[in-house]
């Protein structure tokens, strides 16, 4: 048997979620006492063997895969999993990953556990922890199937180096796509929310969209992505894609800085998995302080510019 990991690439490049998935796969493979095989689809700019640095013993590169489609990718991955006699397949929960893992579970007649946040407690049967109720709870889930697809919540496990030499083989797709990609519209060179290690977020306390300059400046200095509370995106001060929370994106960066956000329960549900939370709010009673690690009670319009200066000083 083996453990398989789908190592996604974006325009041919591996990103932190790719390495995180491989690291997670390595932890599962170690626990099962078996090898880890990474699979990646599409044209690559990066060298596939880099996945070895995170513990893959072998990489299968399926270069003939076109744009993502759940049927095309899912059926292809199923055939690879069968050919490589895999018992567990690990997929990171990107937008594609969510579809791929669910499709594969059906096609491959496997169990599936999504939103997993830790290495499995046991591998026979697979028993693992996942986040439920929008991070308000943690459940232990046991699969009744021998084959299991594990879908990993992003930024929950981290990428860990485990120098291995990975040989690269080529593979091919099977099956057909049922959707056709017409156009991709993506900001390039920006740090996306789901992969960001630091996120600077702001809420209604900032009064208007014209005041986001300092948020962007702070984010730029920290190599961070920007985010916002729901009402801010509802009124169009910021794009919907920045809305975090129970009905927006769930994120888990190393550092989440919340400026002028009250900390409503629905907001916290999407950000409480952040490792460190910093809150800047003029109201000492703002509920967010109860969920924060560090805080400054003060006016954002005074505090944030000074914070920017302090970061500049640190970064030299």
């Amino acid at each position: 048997m083996s453990v398989l990991v789908f190592a996604e690439n974006w325009d041919g490049k591996f990103k932190n979620p790719s390495f995180e998935a491989v690291s997670y796969g390595k932890a599962v493979a170690d626990k099962a006492g078996t090898d880890l095989i990474a699979v990646t689809f599409g044209n690559l700019e990066d060298d596939a063997s880099v996945l070895g640095k995170y513990g893959a013993n072998k990489v299968v590169h399926v270069s003939d895969a076109g744009a993502f489609d759940a049927h095309l990718y899912g059926n292809s991955l199923k055939d690879l999993a069968n050919g490589l006699s895999a018992k567990v397949v690990v997929v990171s929960q990107s937008n594609n990953g969510k579809m791929l893992s669910s499709f594969l579970a059906v096609a491959w007649e496997a169990g599936m556990i999504s939103n997993v946040v830790e290495a499995p407690e046991s591998v026979a049967p697979i028993k693992v922890k996942k986040k439920v109720f929008s991070s308000k709870g943690i459940a232990t889930v046991e699969s009744s199937e021998e084959r299991v697809v594990l879908a990993l919540a992003s930024n929950s496990f981290g990428a860990h180096e485990a120098a291995t030499d990975a040989a690269v083989e080529s593979g091919s797709t099977s099956g057909e796509a049922k959707t056709q990609s017409v156009e991709v519209d993506r900001a390039t060179g920006q740090i996306t929310l789901s992969e960001a290690e630091v996120v600077v977020s702001a809420g209604r306390g900032l009064k208007g969209p014209e005041n986001w300059g300092m948020v962007e400046e702070l984010a730029g200095l920290l190599g961070a992505a920007t985010a916002c509370s729901k009402p801010v995106s509802d009124v169009g001060w910021r794009p919907h894609t920045e809305h975090v929370g129970q009905t927006g994106k769930a994120i888990a960066p190393n550092l989440y800085i919340a400026i002028g956000i009250s900390g409503a329960i629905q907001h916290l549900a999407g950000v409480s998995s952040s490792k460190v939370i910093v809150v800047v709010n003029s109201d000492p009673e703002a509920p967010f302080f109860k969920a924060a690690d560090y805080g400054i009670v003060g006016d954002a319009f005074d505090v944030v510019p000074r914070l920017i200066e302090a970061v500049k000083e640190l970064k030299g």
Partner: protein, 248 residues
């Protein structure tokens, strides 16, 4: 146009989540249940499509009798009929298999789910339904246009969006953007009155078996108290983040 909207019945977003004292289950005592927020976008989109081009809307939930008020609410918002598959939802696969059976026997052109239910956060049901029924799937869908038998959809991708096309019938996992927040329909008096007499069919399950079980529930560990830094001492905060928390 026949539209099926799959609705999951979930705790209100303001709910405090508790588990039973033996940690074996969610404790629903005192909890208000609502239509899953992601499903509200899909339901409103269905109502808009029906208003624009005619057709019928069926809402479906897999759940016990306690989910019926949620289905009635969906009827009040504008669905024509409701189906409740009389089975306790156990895992994504079992729910998807029950929904797939309704899809196979229903001749629907469009199957709209939400991208995620906010209770068990499976993020799986719409794609599983599509896989079982061999239909196209677009998840995290934030835009839909129909032109005859062709659907054009916008889906979210990391850092942007992608436009994709597929032939009907298709399955969607919807979210905000499918319609805007201010377009969301809420039940009005007439809707509530008429919902009482709209058909709500209880269908016996095909008996699909779940493939996983929840063996234990716990709450995430509580946070330690916040460390407050005086306004004006931002340098100190940056130092703490650098040397103590080691995050910058």
């Amino acid at each position: 146009m026949k539209i099926l909207v799959c609705i999951s019945h979930v705790p209100d977003t303001t709910s405090k989540i508790n588990f039973t004292s033996d940690h074996s289950a969610f404790d629903s005592n005192g909890i208000q249940f609502v239509i899953n927020p992601n499903d509200e976008f899909g339901l409103t989109k269905a109502v808009q499509l029906k208003e624009a081009q005619g057709g019928s809307i069926t809402v479906l939930t897999v759940g016990d009798a306690s989910t019926e008020p949620t289905l009635r609410k969906a009827l009040a918002i504008g669905a024509d009929e409701a189906i409740r598959v009389n089975a306790e939802a156990k895992d994504s696969f079992q729910v998807a298999a029950e929904i797939a059976d309704v899809v196979k026997n229903g001749d629907y052109n469009l199957i709209i789910c939400g991208k995620e239910s906010i209770d068990y956060n499976g993020q799986a049901v719409p794609t599983m339904v599509a896989a079982i029924c061999n239909l196209p799937i677009v998840n995290a869908c934030m835009g839909l246009n129909l032109d005859g038998e062709e659907a054009t959809m916008i889906r979210e991708i990391e850092g942007g969006k992608e436009t994709v096309k597929a032939s009907l019938p298709v399955v969607l996992g919807g979210q905000k953007g499918l319609v805007e927040e201010n377009e969301l329909r809420i039940p009005n008096m007439r809707g509530i009155m008429s919902a009482r007499t709209k058909p709500l069919q209880v269908k016996e399950p095909i008996g699909a078996a779940p493939k996983s079980s929840h063996t234990h529930f716990e709450k995430p560990p509580a946070k330690a108290d916040v460390k407050l830094v005086e306004a004006g001492q931002e340098k100190e905060l940056v130092q703490l983040l650098h040397t103590e928390a080691k995050v910058i």
